[in-house]
Symmetry: C2
Subunit: 319 residues, 2 copies
Amino acid sequence: SAMPNSRPSSQGESQVVKDFKQWLETNDKGQAVAVGAIYALTNLVKRSDASTIMELEILLKDAQEQLQKVKFEGQRSKLIQLTAACELFARHVTRTTVDIGDFAVCKQRIIERGEGFAQQADYARDVIADNACPFLRDGMAILVHGFSHVVLNVLTAAARRGIRFKAICTEGQPECDGRRTAAALSASGIPTELILDTAVAFVMAEVDLVLTGAQGVCESGGIINKIGTYQVSVVAKNANKPFYVAAESYKFCRLYPLSPTDLPDAEKEPASAAPAGGGPRERLPPSDFTPPQHVSLLLTDLGVLTPSAVSDELIKLYY
Amino acid sequence: SAMPNSRPSSQGESQVVKDFKQWLETNDKGQAVAVGAIYALTNLVKRSDASTIMELEILLKDAQEQLQKVKFEGQRSKLIQLTAACELFARHVTRTTVDIGDFAVCKQRIIERGEGFAQQADYARDVIADNACPFLRDGMAILVHGFSHVVLNVLTAAARRGIRFKAICTEGQPECDGRRTAAALSASGIPTELILDTAVAFVMAEVDLVLTGAQGVCESGGIINKIGTYQVSVVAKNANKPFYVAAESYKFCRLYPLSPTDLPDAEKEPASAAPAGGGPRERLPPSDFTPPQHVSLLLTDLGVLTPSAVSDELIKLYY
C-alpha cells in the first residue's frame, strides 16, 4: 500500500492518530492543539515512503480526516484550529514542492519547518503579548469572556511589565471557564473580579476595553468563539467600548459566516428534544459568530490587524 | 399616645406589621405585595382613633417605615412596589380630605377604597392581559427574562385566547427564576425553550418581541428590574426587536435613575470584599435600570404607554 502508516489498521488506530494522542497526553504546557497536529503530520512525512508530491498530498488529506475525528477534552472548540493547522501544513507542502524541484530536498524542508512549528507557536503568544501591551494602560478595567491561553499570556505579561489594571471576568456559562480565567489572573497578582453573565451590561460603564480569545478567526475578520462572545460584543459596542481579540494566526480559517448563528457543523447548536416528562426544551448552543463590525482590532502574531486585513493575511498564508 | 396601634411596643411588633405578615403568610394566589401593604394600612386607619388628618398622616408615615423593614422572601425586589403603595395610599388620604371636609366621612371613604384595592389589583393584571393581547400574534417567538406574575398572566391569557406562540426563557442567574417561568409556561401548554444567559444574542434573530416585568417603573419610563434586564434590552435594540414591559400602575415610582447602575439603596450592588484566602472578588449586583430609550412600550392597567407618558400618569396618581 502507498500509505502504510496512515490508514487505520484492523488492529486499531493509525500511527498519525497515535502520535497526536501521545502529544495530547504529554501537553502540560497548555500548548495549542495546532502544535500537536503539526507534530503528528511532520512525523507522518518523516515515516512516509511516498516518492511523489501527489502521494504525500493524499497521505496528508487522509491524516487530516483522522485527526479531525480524535476525541479529546475541548475537542469541539479546537476543531477549527486543528483543521486550519492541517490545511496550512498541506498548503505548505504543495507550495514547497512548487518552489523546490527535488523531492528529497523538498521533504527535508517540510520536516524542518514542521519541527520548528512548536517553538514558533510559543513565540506567537509572546509576539501577541508584545503587540497587545501598548493598548493596556495603568488604571484600566479589562473585561474578559471565556478562557484563552493567549489572553492569559497577554494579561500576565502586561502585569509583569508593571502595567496596573483590573480584570473583570464573566462566569461564562455553561462551562464557567471564566472562573478558571479569574483564578489564574488572581494567582498572577492581578486584581480580579468575577461577574455573572447577566451583569455584563451592568459593569460595562466601568470597563475600558474587552479582550477575548477566539476559536477561529474567519475571512471577514469576525470570530467564532464560545457562546456569549457575540453578546458581550453587542453590549461593548452599545457602550462605545473597544472589543479586542487576541488570536494566533493558526486560528485563521477559511470560513465566511453570514450571521451570529451561521457556524460550521461542529459548532452548530445541537438539536434538543423536549424532555420526555414534558417541560421546557433546554437549548445549549456552544458557540457564536461575532461579526467583524463588532471587532475593533485583532491582536495577532502577524501584527495588530483590523478585521478587513484578515482576508489579505489568509491569502498570504494559503497562496 | 396618639398612635397606640402603630408604634412597636416593648412586647414586639406593631399591629400594622402583624397584619402585613399575616397577609404574606396567607398569600397563596401570588397577589402583589402592594395589596398586602394596602391591607395593613387600611386596617390601621380602621383601628385608629385619630381625629385629624394630620394625626392620620403621621400614623401612615410611621407605618410605612415599619413595613419597609419587614423581611420576607423576595423583599428586596418588592421594596419599590411596597414603598409606592404606601406613598400612594398616604397621597390618597391627603387628597380625600381635601375633597371632603368631614373627617368621619373621609375616613369611611379611605377604608372603602383601601378594601377595594385587592380586587382592583387582580383586575389590573387582567386589564394588562387585555391590553397586551393585540401585540401577540400566531407564530411569534417571545423572549422572557426573569419571573413575573403579570407577564405569566399575559402569556397564559393569550394562549387561552388561542394565540399560538413560542416562549423563550432566559435562565436568569443568579436566582434562575427563568426556570420557574419556563416550567409555568410549559405547564400551561405553551411551547417553551430555556436558554442560558449567555445565549440571548444568539437567539435574538428568531425572537419577535421581548417581554419582561418590572420591579419599578420610573418617572422617565425606564424600569428597575432584576439584573440582566438592561443587557437583554441592549441586545434587543441591536437587533431592532421591540422590548415590552408589563407592569401594574402600583409599580410606578417617583425615582429618576440616570444610568443602568443608578439605583435606590436596596437595589444597589452590595459591597463585596476579596475572599480571605485570596482569589477573585465575586460581584453580585441584584438589579439594573433599563433606560427609557430601550423600552418600546409599557403594557399597564392605565393603558399601553410610551415611556414618556409615565411621568404624566405619575402626576395624575400623585397630584
